[in-house]
Subunit: 249 residues, 2 copies
Amino acid sequence: MTEHTVTSYGEELRNLVRRISEMGGQAERMVAQSVQALINSDWGLAQSVVADDVLLDAAQRELDERAILVIGKRQPMAVDLREIVGAIRISNDLERIGDLAKNIAKRVIAVSEHSQPIQLVRGIEHMAELALDQLKDVLDAYADRDPARAESVRSNDEAIDAMYTSIFRELLTYMMEDPRNITPCTHLLFSAKNIERIGDHATNIAETIYYIRTGEQMPAERPKGDRTPSLTAPRPAVAGAGADATAGE
Amino acid sequence: MTEHTVTSYGEELRNLVRRISEMGGQAERMVAQSVQALINSDWGLAQSVVADDVLLDAAQRELDERAILVIGKRQPMAVDLREIVGAIRISNDLERIGDLAKNIAKRVIAVSEHSQPIQLVRGIEHMAELALDQLKDVLDAYADRDPARAESVRSNDEAIDAMYTSIFRELLTYMMEDPRNITPCTHLLFSAKNIERIGDHATNIAETIYYIRTGEQMPAERPKGDRTPSLTAPRPAVAGAGADATAGE
């Protein structure tokens, strides 16, 4: 027996918001698990992250479709329209976060063949914790439609960028010490870059929340702390003086 | 003397499409110039790419705003709605392409301190030509709303991914040969990755064009040729046997 259910406009909007929250939870889980898999050389866990990404991609396409149907059917104005457009944007950022987590997971094998020095591993773990905190905070800010909280997520992104710059230098130094480190460190470098980009997507979501609430953009210039594109070679370490790289800044 | 101009709905739609074409032209120019700057160590050209990115970001925000206003004001249905949503998505991809070009441009200094072997440079140039062709083709496909052409852009993405995989291996091998190559090669690696991602965004645009025309998604699974996440270390070159890396595939 089938019933034709008439969904109200309010229900359709709440449905979109609920789907965003579910996608947010999936993205958080994928980020946490991909980094755990990388640190623990856990290929089984890595594979489950890769599989989960397929579901997140499908969820994003479905949300897109539903949002467009709601726009076509209900012809929303003002804040409702911003909610729906905001949901489309946020689901796009969450889908990309999932892709980045998947990309990290795929590198597990190439990294796991070599053991990594403890400070590199701790550095990447710490950076991932910062990025995950940002993701959680911004999803809470979305639940509350809180523009102040969204603004603070955006300003916290600098800390992730600073950590990335420092990990980038450490990895270069480590690669220069021994050619056998180059391949696994290259994968760690890409993984660290992916985590930095996850942080950027959390910031995108923060800007969308601000837009939903206020109808305006956060100011155009957001502080961009990734200075690694201009980093030149670290000077070779003087024995006993530590490997801290300072050249090129 | 001011005149109040009434814009027709048709004009508003054409306006959005025109802005996409302009953004497309800017993105093409930025990609071409960033790679030229990288290959020729042209810091002046690199700086102009960085400056252009600010304009492209502003153009994307403005298109977003206008598109949302049109939706609110005209309450479009069906294909008009897909056109507007499609314009929002495409402008997003073009803005990201601009960011990737800017990121390549910023690496010019770090790369230019060392001369690169000719085959690495040719490899990256060639990959960039493929990506630029894709971008031009997809912008033409958009102008004609041609779904068949969009589909062929998507299947051509494989060639870019294959080139990226091969450049990745070459760069790893080159880094292992001499620690002084590591820093500039790391920047070339990120640049090559950025070019590969520019190709991916061209493919996203192709999928959006298909959606605008048909109302449907291209099939979910698109061929993903980037196998580099699982690449392990190339075996050291045997003297005279060439440096071709095969381990880990």
